[in-house]
Symmetry: C2
Subunit: 401 residues, 2 copies
């Protein structure tokens, strides 16, 4: 009996829960809980309608460790799957320790009042999980997540050593709206406006946000501007692959998206600092979030594909090779299957796969784990089977930039 408790009821949670329900041989019982129970109920209704599977729902304030611990004990899962906001990673890890269950998430902890994107807070739980004989799996989404699994697979099967690694994240989706973020606007805009950072010969090189631009012709999408950014898997990749000389992350943005970002930054709407307004504090970014379309409302509007992958250059049998592993995901197909577009789909499916590997004991351990530490083969196999097929290509040459 593999009972799981999923926390969060956004697009990623919706995808993961639908995919779990599609694999009821692995997930015998699913409970989904979030602050707003009605959102959980909506997911449950969709799962029931699509697949005839009944799941339980509950209301929970994931900031409240005691309440979450009590819920875990009541639901009695083997694993808590955290698909809430990254602000809640630590309280949920605390609750897992208190209740004695395994933990999985898709994005590293972030304090509400600063944008840091680092694993230190969660790695600090290493000894506590070890002592409790529990496993915490960090970052089992697409990026972070699949991108690290692609790298581990590259190292295991394709190259003897990796010299450079580039992660290319292209969302070629179009909502038809002038401006919308395809996941939580606050997290999205924090990430995009953070300084760029990449790993180069043992150190982090920082630069201003969104200044290093390259054009790449993505299969299924076409040529797109992509920008050097920081992204959290760079930290774990640099830690677990000290041999790699240069690790970079690139994300595509359209000119209109960047124009909106520029203006909103200029007028102060991206600030996460409280300001006084009409006698009380307001955080401009939160008002902006309230003004922008709910990412979950974009599903039926989004057309086009995502194309996310890793390009690694290194030696194989003494010869330099460049290998590209990527997945292409269609927004409309993703929406047809679970009612969520590809950005949620590409994160929710890997969350389900990570959870499946944990509850079946294929991936097991005591302590806090990043994706790079685990055997990529069963994960890669499940990606092909559960909606995120990938392929390996050998490129003629390393990236020219």
């Amino acid at each position: 009996m593999s009972r799981v408790l999923v926390i969060g009821a956004g697009g990623v949670s919706s995808v993961a829960v639908h995919k779990m329900a599609m694999n009821s041989d692995i997930f015998s019982h699913i409970t989904v809980a979030s602050r707003t129970k009605s959102k959980c109920d909506a997911i449950a209704a969709s799962v029931k309608e699509r697949f005839g599977v009944t799941i339980d729902t509950a209301a929970i304030d994931a900031d409240d460790v005691a309440a979450t611990t009590a819920l875990i004990k009541q639901v009695n899962p083997v694993l808590l799957v955290n698909l809430a906001l990254p602000y809640q990673d630590l309280t949920l890890m605390d609750a897992c320790l208190a209740a004695g269950v395994h933990y999985l998430d898709t994005a590293n902890y972030e304090p509400r009042d600063e944008a840091k994107f680092e694993y230190s807070w969660q790695w600090a739980y290493q000894e506590r999980f070890k002592e409790a004989g529990l496993m915490a799996l960090l970052g089992s989404g697409f990026d972070p997540g699949v991108t690290s699994v692609f790298t581990t697979y590259t190292k295991k099967h394709l190259l003897d050593s990796i010299e450079t690694l580039d992660i290319l994240d292209c969302n070629g989706g179009d909502t038809g709206l002038p401006f919308a973020t395809n996941f939580n606007p606050e997290i999205n805009l924090r990430e995009v406006t953070a300084p760029s950072r990449h790993w180069d010969n043992g150190q982090w090189i920082e630069g201003p946000a969104l200044t290093n631009k390259q054009v790449y012709d993505f299969e299924g999408v076409g040529p797109k501007n992509m920008y050097l950014m920081y992204h959290e898997e760079l930290e774990s990749l640099a830690k677990f692959y000290p041999e790699i000389k240069r690790i970079r992350f690139w994300m595509t943005f359209g000119d209109s998206y960047l124009k909106h970002l520029d203006v909103l930054g200029n007028v102060g709407m991206l600030s996460i600092e409280p300001m006084m307004f009409q006698g009380r504090e307001i955080i401009p970014m939160e008002l902006l979030k309230a003004l922008l379309p709910e990412p979950s409302s974009l599903g039926p509007l989004t057309k086009g594909k995502t194309n996310i992958g890793t390009i690694a250059t290194g030696l194989k049998d003494g010869v330099q090779k460049t290998v590209y592993i990527n997945n292409i995901c269609d927004h409309e197909e993703a929406y047809a299957e679970t009612g969520n577009q590809a950005v949620s789909y590409t994160t929710g499916v890997p969350a389900m796969i990570g959870a499946a590997l944990m509850v079946t004991g294929v991936w097991k351990g005591e302590g806090v784990f990043n994706m790079e530490q685990l055997d990529p083969d069963p994960f890669m196999d499940m990606l092909n089977k559960h909606g995120l097929p990938w392929k390996v290509q050998e490129l003629d040459a390393p990236l020219a930039f």
Copy 2:
């Protein structure tokens, strides 16, 4: 003894009060009152320092007719000069009627909850001012104001009949900031985002905001993009000059300004509709106003010139002629004189001139008057003497667009 009471303490008020103090032969006693008395005191301190003239200050809520009436009776002016927000025109006209003093403003009444830009509310006071034997002078700023006086002057001296009239408003000023509005952001953004409207053969032609763009090479500024807009003097010009076949208003905007406007509109920040946010109502436009720089803070930053004028085509002695009357005003020179940049200066000086003509009895009447109804010559004469010199040029041809 010509006592005046000025309501409002923004940039336009500051200019008008400084210019009144420079003409203490006409304005023997000046009181400036606004909601925030400290802003009045700052104007008084500057006037004292620059010209050695003492003016009185008071706190007043211009929405409160009874309180304003009491203040008028206490100050005992011959004229109330309304340089507050246009939301307060009607309550101030009510107070003038109650206290028995003349009235002047620079912009027509506007309800807080809709952007209409029309004189109907104020023209409805016609009989009441007539019966009281009082004069209300509407729109004695630059545009509206001087642009109507230029037209009246054209008709009186330069052309026998006017066929087409174009008002060209160019602000070539640069603050060096990515985005700022040079007067009250709420009023400015309401005006700019309203549909365009122009008078054509007896009817109003409406179009979407900011779509009819022309390039004009402004003396002192250079070539600028200008856009067809609605502006309130079009209504009074069409009423008092039914002979004119086409009346249009053009204003220059830089690409960056329009980019900001586009984005802010897209995300909903220009809305004057309340929205629920964290349990209370917020008007996005008001938060935007709070985020943007105070227009009064832009004075020391602004460089460049404004160039505002009228181009009229018509017949003189049976021959078609095109005449251009315009004023060029330098932001830094304006700032040096009164501590306010040219956008405030070009509105505040005509307010002072209108007030001077009223308190000296050169312009007099009973009822509500627009600028088109009054002899332009003394006004034009004072523009030259008080910082807004103008010149007449004959153009080779009518505007090509």
